[in-house]
Amino acid sequence: MIRVILPAHLRTLAHLGSEVQLDIEGRATQRSVLDALEATYPMLCGTIRDHVTQQRRPYVRFFACEQDLSHEPPDAPLPDAVASGAEPFLILGAIAGG
């Protein structure tokens, strides 16, 4: 079970509480987590990554275990603590705009 924390605007959009719990088949990666998230909450499609290129939107960042994973390859394994559910996978809207 993977725990995902979304930014407030996306929680509002998907009518979610503070944390989402997802079951992932196979290895936990950014791609598999986002695939599962979008399959469960299709209104999030296109808000975190581009519909076509599947690239992370520029002002969205991925943090976990006090690390910035935003620039990790989408198929790289997430930290064990995330895969086990001990630590959440954080999706953030970057602080920008003053």
Partner: protein
């Protein structure tokens, strides 16, 4: 008794204002989609309770919201806008080729007859259509494929397709406008398009009378006379009497011929409204006086409408999608400002009052007249 519903898109959410036909007391709901930019929201002429809204964010991209109850409840629908085929390039500000990239939906135009059909004008400029209530979107690619697309260039606000006019007398005819490519028309439902910019003159492009490259800010028509079009261009107020085949200037005695909005009285096809704005860089009313100008002769002769509008120290702007009219017997006229005011006149512009005055910057105003 009739009612009026005003749909206001702002930099930080959408607002819905309702009044009875007297248009004195207004109930305000919102913000809907708080914190998001709402470029435009509009109701279906075929079903007044069906509304569409363009919700966008620099962080999370584009969403389309749909309401089936006049704006009380909303649901996100499809937000996948993919250009048809290989998108190619247009010109960037410096004249170099730049890939077509979807950024946002500027304008949503519901079909005149089918609540599930709606058009979306987007940046980078293209026209999309949905026939399933906004769930899926297909580009009408003949517009970008017209051949002049590689020469289109963005205006200061981006290369946006901001105006979509559906001809009430001819379902195959659609007019659109793009900053800064100009106006285009299809007569076959969107398969093929032609530029309709003959008569426009723009001194800020190398060939002032070029086929494309004109910064058209807005076009308006009266539904009883769809062959007559009125245009607010970056500079110049223009009129066409032949569905855009040719244009002539009707700026007349306006204090400045720059502005963004233009609209037509609901019952008088030759009564036209504009709000002159000082430019090129100031973008606020001349002399700090917020004045609507009305022509009752289809242009050239304009009168300033000032009663109830601030006539000192007013430095707001009125953006291109932020004026609309209702269709009550005494035509109501509405516009919103970047200062967050929405002004209304229940007497065709003779007098004005703010119906709300402290919203976020207003991006769009639409009006529905309800039975």
């Amino acid at each position: 008794m009739s009612k009026v519903r005003v749909l206001v898109g702002t930099r930080k959410g959408a607002f819905v204002l309702e009044s009875d036909a007297k248009r004195k007391q207004w109930d305000i709901s919102g913000p809907h989609f708080a914190g998001w930019e709402i470029y435009h929201l509009k109701g279906s002429p075929a079903d007044a309770n069906r509304l569409y809204a363009s919700q966008t964010s620099g962080w999370f991209g584009q969403l389309i919201q749909r309401s089936n109850d006049g704006g009380k409840m909303w649901e996100p629908v499809g937000n996948k806008f993919v250009y048809d085929g290989v998108p190619g390039t247009h010109q960037w500000y410096d004249g170099t080729p730049h890939p077509w990239e979807f950024k946002r939906v500027w304008h949503l135009e519901p079909s005149l007859t089918d609540p599930d059909t709606v058009y979306a004008g987007v940046e980078d400029a293209a026209l999309f259509r949905s026939a399933d209530g906004g769930q899926t979107w297909q580009e009408l690619a003949g517009l970008r494929g017209h051949g002049s697309g590689p020469r289109w260039q963005p205006g200061a606000g981006g290369m946006c397709l901001h105006t979509v006019l559906l001809d009430p007398g001819d379902p195959g005819r659609i007019f659109i406008a793009i900053s800064a490519a100009g106006a285009f028309r299809t007569d076959d439902g969107g398969t093929t398009w032609q530029p309709i910019n003959r008569g426009l003159r723009s001194e800020h492009i190398p060939d002032p009378t070029a086929e494309v490259g004109h910064c058209v800010h807005r076009i308006a028509m009266h539904r009883s006379r769809p062959g007559v079009l009125f245009m607010q261009k970056h500079w110049d107020v223009m009129r066409s009497d032949d569905a855009g085949d040719s244009w002539h200037e009707v700026s007349g005695n306006l204090p400045t011929d720059f502005g963004f909005v233009i609209d037509v009285h609901a019952h008088e096809p030759d009564t036209v409204y504009v709000i002159p704005i000082k430019s090129d860089s100031e973008h606020y009313p001349p002399e700090g006086k917020l004045r609507v100008y009305r022509s009752r002769s289809g242009g050239n002769e304009w009168e300033a409408l000032t009663k109830g509008l601030p006539q000192t120290n007013c430095y707001v702007n009125v953006l291109r999608d932020a004026m609309a009219v209702d269709s009550l017997d005494s035509c109501g006229v509405y516009f919103g400002t970047t200062g967050g005011q929405v002004y209304a006149s229940a007497d065709a512009g003779d007098s004005w009052a703010p119906i709300v005055r402290d919203l976020p910057a207003v991006l769009s105003v639409e009006v529905q007249t309800l039975p």
